[in-house]
Amino acid sequence: MHETWIPGETFLHRWDARCKLGATACLCLTPTAMSDRVPLAVLAVAALGLLLWFHLPWRKLFRYLSEIHLFLIPCFLILPFSTPGDPLFHIGPFAGSLEGFKFALTLYLRAVIIATFAMGAILTTPIDVLVQAAERLYVPRVLAQICLLTYRFLFAFRADLQRIRIALRTRGFREAAGMHTYRTLAHTTGSLLIRALDRTERVTRAMRCRGYHGTLPTMRSFKLNNQDLAATGICVVFSCFFLFWEFWF
């Protein structure tokens, strides 16, 4: 497991994290208010083009984007058959509707746009900076701390899981459909949760020993400049353009 942040010198990297987060939120909300597939498709292409224009590594970008298909493909498998409308195709006795397919496509485009814009923020900003920026934008402090610590300990959790899996394999365990596998997986999950609970106590103690009283102080100070504000303004105008397209044409 590696950090998602990619170091670089592009404007996206230099952009003030608060502005970047605000602009990303604005851009991510835009497709949720749109249902016309043409402007949605144009927005999806524009979002991808924007990130590639800033020289973000396209392999990594597409790898992350391909992962969301795990959640999107079921939309195309379920919605055409569960939405009433004109039949588009038949699989045995089941008819897939055109309306269902269009609805699935709309959801797909929305998800891709949101994920692409979110990638722009996540890939160009260290996660701790993003969380601190979120805190400055009045995201509740506890929520911000939970996000930061969750991210940090995902790595430890993953390492625990790998150790357990290796331990299981060295003792001859092979995953197969059956009660033995399900029971073993249940024990593994329980064991991971207990370890996580123990770790939480140890981390809390370690933090208290270093003076933790509910806040995570930081050395980082954010500074706005005209470029940051201009870029944020352009993103807002960009969002408004697509909303205008959606509602007036």
């Binding site: 950090e3 260290p126 996660i127 701790d128 930061l148 610590l149 991210y151 940090r152 300990f153 790595f155 430890a156 770790r199 140890r202 981390v203 103690r205 370690a206 933090m207 208290r208 020993c209 270093r210 003076g211 933790y212 009283h213 995570l216 102080p217 930081t218 050395m219």
Partner: protein, 252 residues
């Protein structure tokens, strides 16, 4: 007069424990522990698993409440800031598992966490972080690294730096060599010997404590069973065997 002298003696100790006992729900962890640690002492705390060493550390660091007896760290209760220092906390503890101690996403932020919690000025925090990184032998290039991506030895140094940055009067180290290779252990010994601060080191590594400490305390079953110069205590084969320990190579 006697009480005055006693009072002065107690106040001059960095750590003073009087009849300290502590019980977990199903077992007694500490039973009537009494000892004092003077400024500048380097003490080894040894004992078998479950002897109560970590519990003693947690009480001293002020994170475990509900003990009986009296614990005074630099004259006041554990877990409080010094009244005479500039935001200095009296006890710094480096835990056995550094993975749990380092929770920030960069080395710099992790080391700065303690000083910032003390309310120090950012400029001073900057200086302290750079200073302790040099003290523990960490390259400044590592400032932006994710702590979990460092080697065991480097992580141990970052954990130590995070504690030293708070400028405590006493350092508690719980199994400091547990995840180190021989070279890392050698470097740790050199590093610990270079620190003038009062230290209490809990370890199963008898060679490490023999090389870094001048006094030894043996804890077994929650009781203090020996206290004396390190060579006398760790060199006592019968005592070591009786409590499931070994005589370090240097004293054989």
């Amino acid at each position: 007069m006697f009480l005055f002298v006693l009072g002065v003696l107690v106040l001059s100790a960095v750590l003073s424990l009087q009849s300290v006992s502590f019980s977990y729900p199903k077992r007694k962890a500490l039973n009537g522990i009494c000892f004092r640690v003077e400024a500048g002492e380097k003490i080894a705390l040894v004992g078998p698993n479950g002897a109560g060493k970590t519990t003693l550390f947690l009480i001293t660091a002020g994170v475990l409440d509900g003990y009986e007896g009296e614990v005074l760290v630099a004259g006041h209760e554990p877990g409080q800031r010094s009244q005479d220092g500039d935001g200095i906390r009296d006890v710094g503890i480096v835990f056995q598992n550094t993975e749990d101690q380092l929770f920030h996403t960069t080395v710099f932020d992790d080391i700065a966490f303690g000083p910032l919690n003390l309310g120090l000025d950012k400029e001073i925090v900057h200086q302290r972080v750079h200073s302790v990184m040099e003290t523990v032998g960490l390259n400044h290039d590592l400032e932006t690294e994710f702590p979990l991506h460092l080697s065991g030895g480097q992580r141990r140094r970052v954990a130590l730096a995070g504690v030293l940055a708070m400028e405590p009067k006493m350092l508690l180290l719980d199994e400091p060599s547990s995840d180190l290779d021989p070279r890392g252990r050698r470097e740790l010994v050199n590093l610990l010997n270079s620190l003038e601060i009062t230290k209490v080191i809990s370890s199963h590594n008898m060679d490490l404590v023999a090389e870094t400490c001048s006094r030894a305390l043996v804890l077994d079953g929650g009781e203090l069973v020996a206290d004396g110069p390190i060579q006398d205590v760790l060199g006592n084969r019968d005592l070591m065997m009786k409590h499931g320990l070994e005589v370090p190579a240097a004293f054989q």
